[in-house]
Subunit: 313 residues, 2 copies
């Protein structure tokens, strides 16, 4: 069941005015020019508002009246909470017990009810579905849904509208919603563009899956890139990524920290570890040499102040 | 000798393509909407590139061949260095011995020669003029020159082009180049706009000068807002500010730190203390209550990583 790129274009119309068109910031480094699509400056602090808004705005008024639900490590929770608030719907989100406090507070600030679970011992999908069954609330899937994927693809669509001559485009790899949406619209708008995914070496589920030619599940990863702690790529996102990605580029925890530091001190942008993964790959020379003009989806900025302080100190 | 607003418009034409058009980021806080004009994302990390480029691009090829000079606490140095590099001219800058390392490194990275002096015991203008006399280099004034003022005004011009219905506009107060340029173009484009200056209480030279009705000189100030350590407003900038500012708003050092922290954690922008002064004034309720939509010139982002870490910790 392939997802047509037209779904991304439709999403961009559906979410217009409900989601911020974030700036594209060009930065030069080591003879390369990066075009940073600053989703850290998105409302709610990440690209997740795009997919959540695209899903929620397709619900009927009756469905909206029963509220929405989500399970999330943090940014999807905030995205769903804010999208629901803007649509006048109640939101309840299931979040891991060790989610960054900044993300829990952010989600709560948009009026959502938080349900906590242990991500090492409990199944968030099961918890979420049981609660949804009680209330009739609609679940907003974090990545493996055509409307979620299409919504996330609108960030790359805006970037491609503004950045002139890109050789390549790179985004972080969690469950693959952002990356798959990016692949779909990029292949449509610039068929020859080279597409890369950045993934923490400690959470290399998509890398292993592409190597194996099928979805591989890993143990709960313990990377500081808390938004990329997926066990496996999605059923829908994986084939899109497998078909379109030239490579999955792995980065170490230290490389992620260095990228967070570089973004803060050189680009003057606060970016969370997950959002800094693609820049980590670029700064550490992991893309092919001939790639010079690179579009980068900087996916979010919700980092604990204490963690950022530690990285900068 | 009043400076016509048309000089700002002319500057915007002169510097087009040589200076980045920085994004305007809207942020909601406490029922207010701020429109942050992000000069921390400017090339060189501050608005200073604007004035420096405007001055340097009026020099003859012969003058450019003799190079340019500047004295600066940091950001003007980097602005002149980068503007000179882009014009193919040599730059030499006189910087205080205690200028932030990040600013000295930044300036040197654009190929400028650095001359150090003690800001408590030596006169930077005299040093700069003696060196200029030797080499015939043109001095690029940090604030008290019509071309500098006009160049700095282009940031507010771009903001006013993009932000729809502002009640007020606020910028930081150092020597007054940015504020005077802001006043000139704002009064021209939106005659009824309310204009405010933000100043550290520890470096209140413009506040005292406006109280006194004439330029007052203070002892070398010791505020963390290192870009706003002016002794007195300029001869040219003072009358413009006196005529157009509704008020100079003073902020404490702690209020500045809180604003740097808020900008990093809530707006995901790295802003230096000087650049955070207007936001400090807003967050601490120092503007009139009825002001709701506020344009803010966020002047720069060159903060020591260790200082930012300390503020975030």
């Amino acid at each position: 069941m392939p997802i047509p790129a037209a779904e991304v274009v439709a999403a961009s119309e559906r979410i217009r005015g409900l989601v911020r068109r974030t700036p594209v910031v060009p930065v030069d480094v080591c003879g390369l020019r990066l075009y940073l699509k600053c989703e850290n400056l998105q409302d709610g602090g990440s690209f997740k508002l795009r997919g959540a808004t695209n899903v929620i705005r397709t619900l009927s008024p009756e469905a909206l009246g029963r509220g929405v639900m989500a399970y999330s490590s943090g940014n999807h929770a905030a995205g769903v909470a804010l999208a629901a608030q803007r649509a006048g719907a109640k939101a309840r989100v299931v979040m891991p017990h060790d989610a960054p406090k900044v993300k829990v507070d952010n989600t709560a600030s948009f009026g959502a009810e938080i349900v906590s679970y242990n991500r090492f011992t409990e199944d968030r999908e099961a918890i979420c579905q049981a609660l949804a069954a009680e209330t009739g609330a609609a679940i907003v899937p974090p990545f493996d849904h055509p409307m979620t994927i299409a919504g996330q693809g609108t960030a790359a669509m805006e970037l491609l509208e503004e950045a002139p001559e890109l050789d390549a485009l790179i985004a972080p790899l969690g469950g693959g919603g952002l990356m798959a949406g990016t692949c779909l619209i990029a292949r449509h708008m610039r068929p020859s563009l080279r597409l890369f995914g950045g993934e923490p070496a400690l959470g290399n589920d998509t890398y292993l899956s592409i190597q194996a030619g099928e979805r591989v599940e890993i143990a709960p990863p313990d990377t500081i890139a808390d938004g990329l702690r997926s066990f496996a790529p999605g059923k829908l996102t994986f084939p899109v990524m497998k078909e379109n990605l030239e490579a999955v580029v792995l980065v170490t925890e230290d490389e992620i920290r260095a990228a967070v530091r570089w973004l803060a001190t050189k680009a003057h942008l606060v970016v969370e570890p997950s959002g800094a993964v693609p820049v980590a790959a670029i700064l550490h020379g992991k893309l092919p040499r001939e790639v010079r003009n690179i579009g980068v989806i900087v996916s979010g900025g919700n980092i604990e102040p204490s963690q950022l302080a530690e990285i900068l100190a």
